[in-house]
Symmetry: C2
Subunit: 262 residues, 2 copies
DNA sequence: GAGTGGTCTAGACCACTGT
DNA sequence: CAGTGGTCTAGACCACTCC
């Protein structure tokens, strides 16, 4: 007495798990499944929808439904922060070879495309709370994308918040045509006397908004990883806070924690 | 010429974002929406499904559709590792004293273990690779749940893998009736001469399997955070590896990275 | 044009929640 | 019991892909 669409989903799921349907294979057409199971078009589609939200299949309009290939993941580590900090003080030429995103992906600078836009803002209640500053504090907000040139979709959507007053000593930092910041964010912060002491990263998972799904080219049912990165300076104040939206199906985050020895 | 269900979804989404429909509010019945928009039952349901997968509404059979309340999140930090390590060597009485104090600082460890089951296993290719050991190495696998006393659904599903040979010097570790391990995992590892030096945590997001959705009481569209925690001893070998499945809608992970000072 | 999945209808009936 | 959402049908037509 189980629901029809569940029985059909179960049967197809078993076929996939057993390997009778391998990754990349096309499933039988909906019309054929409809006939085989003696159920209507709508019921078949409901069954396929179950498998789709489980991430097992992918539907392509006009072509068919396919068993999903596991996506190759881009790994982002927290060791990159020390690496970036070290890099901020080495020479310009050595530095120009690579950037932080390359550290994670192993790609060279030519493969990566950045697009940045700056805008002035003021701290909303939520941002103010997260940064430990008064509401309405003038901010510089940088919005950018990192993208691997061979792929259509960005690796991540980033919004970065900086307190304007703390960085305006260096006019380059307010000019979006200077992006990516020569020498990287860390080097530029150094020019205005800011040294980062610790970084907190708050990770959550949630469904994408319609806009995010569009921009990151996320298949239905995929979620995003949201990473709120807060950088504290040596006085314990927030120097920068950024929100990073990462596609859940092709990102993995690696955090290493070193412990004191006994 | 937009699709009808998208227009309807857009309109309802706008109402929610504008606050005309507040969290907890019931949406108009499907039959009423059907009449209002002049569309069939199925089309209305398609529109509501869009909002559901965006996490904006929650449907309850027989009661109605409701604007979702943001869930209160359980925070898990990586500072807990140092704290746990420190705790492993202090006396039993001191341990119970500090429990409450640390709880206030956000390092919650008063989750209670219920239902632990042990089984003997051998390292699969995937596990062997992750632990850096030969395939087929005898393992002790502990499967357990942590939950807060007040809540129904577990906070996480955990499978922990230990190399049998390294821990069998202490028979208590092989006995599932001794769970939770007196003094905690760290203290018990200490009894067999293992000191943990560093921990790697690999975080990914994915849709839940049907079983996980059931056990964690996840609404449709919610994803899980998968955390693979690998503990390395002072020789650089893997002492323990565990997979933790966390509900994406009520978990946040906080990682702090301390940097070397200039 | 043939074959695929996507949207939609009008209506039936089932299953769950409340009173 | 009335009111809600959940399953299902039979059929129409649309939109996309590939040959």
């Amino acid at each position: 007495m189980a629901k029809a669409y569940e029985r059909i989903a179960d049967e197809l799921r078993d076929s996939i798990r057993a390997g009778q349907l391998a990754p990349g294979d096309r499933l039988p057409a909906e019309s054929e499944l409809s006939e085989r199971f003696g159920r209507s078009h709508v019921t078949i589609r409901e069954a396929l929808r179950v498998l789709q939200t489980e991430g097992l299949i992918e539907k392509q309009h006009g072509r068919g439904s396919f068993v999903r290939q596991p996506r190759t993941k881009v790994r982002r580590t927290n060791e990159r922060h020390q690496w970036e900090k070290d890099r901020a003080r080495i020479s310009e030429e050595q530095r120009s070879e690579t950037g932080a995103a390359e550290h994670d992906t192993g790609l060279t600078v030519n493969d990566l495309v950045f697009r940045a836009s700056y805008r002035d803002g003021a701290a909303s209640p939520e941002i103010a709370k997260a940064m430990g500053i008064p509401e309405g504090t003038p901010l510089l907000e940088r919005v950018y994308r990192t993208r691997y040139s061979a792929e259509r979709a960005p690796l991540g959507l980033i919004t970065s918040h900086l307190v304007r007053e703390r960085i305006e000593a260096n006019p380059d930092l307010l000019d979006e045509t200077k992006e990516p910041w020569p020498g990287g964010t860390w080097n530029q912060l150094l020019t205005v006397g800011i040294e980062i002491d610790r970084i907190e990263e708050l990770v959550t998972a949630r469904p994408p908004t319609a806009e995010e799904a569009e921009e990151l080219d996320l298949p239905p049912g995929t979620s995003v990883l949201q990473l709120r990165k807060t950088s504290y300076d040596t006085e314990g104040n927030v120097a920068e806070m950024s929100d990073v939206i990462l596609p859940g199906d092709r990102t993995e985050l690696l955090f290493t924690t070193h412990l004191e020895r006994w």
